[in-house]
């Protein structure tokens, strides 16, 4: 029996489109462009907590740090990044860290391998980055590993208006949730019920 639970690959995450809003802290940002990125990152040799971000200070080992800029967001450069999946092809047992904790378990530094997270069965990362400090780190053995990341990059601009639809709230630990204020939620409920004064009712099948 093959273990392939990833039938919902790429469908499990929300597809945010241009015009939708992020909210970070108390500031709204409007999406103006969405770029889907599948990125191969090569890391050479034994590494401990190798930073997968622009500020990687390592030299002579693996990917040049400038190529890693798209692995993190940067509000000063109008960029928010969602790292969705990662898969590997080279036999090894790398482990990831997000912030200061292991990615896959809070208390155990679990590893992945080509069976658990092969390129055709990638494992979910599901972390949002809007700052260079929100980044992945990887520890690996003495191999030349290629990490295949599935990333969605959002180009955003600060938005001074108020949302009329649910928006995507990004949290400081890299999580993201859909949020609606009371007025939006009430309008949605009224709309679905087709009440007077609400938005145009949604046709029912």
């Amino acid at each position: 029996m093959s273990f392939t639970p990833y039938q919902i690959w790429k469908a499990a995450y929300p597809e945010l489109k241009a015009g939708e809003l992020f909210k970070i802290q108390n500031q709204y940002y409007m999406i103006i462009q969405v770029r889907h990125n599948r990125k191969a990152v090569t890391v050479i040799g034994s590494q401990t907590n190798y930073i997968l971000a622009l500020d990687n200070a390592s030299t002579g080992a693996g990917t040049a740090s400038t190529l890693l800029e798209s692995m993190t967001g940067n509000l000063n450069k109008n960029r928010i990044v969602h790292i969705e999946y990662v898969g590997i092809t080279v036999s090894d047992t790398p482990e990831f860290v997000w912030g200061t904790q292991p990615l896959q378990s809070k208390d155990v530094a679990d590893t992945i391998d080509t069976n658990l997270a092969g390129a055709s069965n990638p494992i979910e990362v599901d972390r949002w980055s809007y700052d260079q400090s929100m980044r992945l780190l990887v520890t690996q053995g003495n191999v030349t590993q290629v990490y295949y990341f599935d990333i969605v990059e959002y180009e955003i601009v600060a938005y001074s208006g108020q949302p009329t639809q649910p928006y995507w709230q990004l949290l400081s630990n890299g999580a993201g949730i859909y949020v609606a204020n009371e007025a939006i939620a009430a309008n949605i409920q009224a709309t679905n019920l087709g009440l007077p004064g609400s938005s145009k009712p949604i046709p029912r099948q």
């Binding site: 907590n49 997000w98 400090s133 709230q169 949290l171 400081s172 609606a180 046709p203």
Partner: protein, 144 residues
Amino acid sequence: MAQTSTKPYKPFQPQQTPFLPESIVEELEDNIWKMGNLSKPQDYTDGPTPVRIEEVYDVQERHALATNKTTPVYWDLQTNEPKEIRLQADGADHYVDFNRQITSDSPKVFSNTNIIVKTRGTIRIWAKTVSADTGTLRILVFKR
């Protein structure tokens, strides 16, 4: 003869996506802050007591890095407001990084300068000196 679909038009319905009330966000962020990503004790026993930043400081949190501190030490900063954190070193070369323990092959060296990160939430600052060097490492926290 062309087929005619009998299926009624169904417009895009983004509001069908489950969402949470706005009132939950502040509590959620507060719980993230309380839990932190830094709750696990480390093996190093000479790390100073974690620092919790509860107010907005103009300039705050100065920490001295003792002589010959070749074993990495760290400070945890936890902030629920976006802050600009600057690390400044006097006198000696220091190895400093955010959220990553300093190892001999991955230093970030600076002297008489500063590095800046803008963040909120939790952050661990690792530091060590080169052998026999001494100096003061100052952590300056600004409101963003």
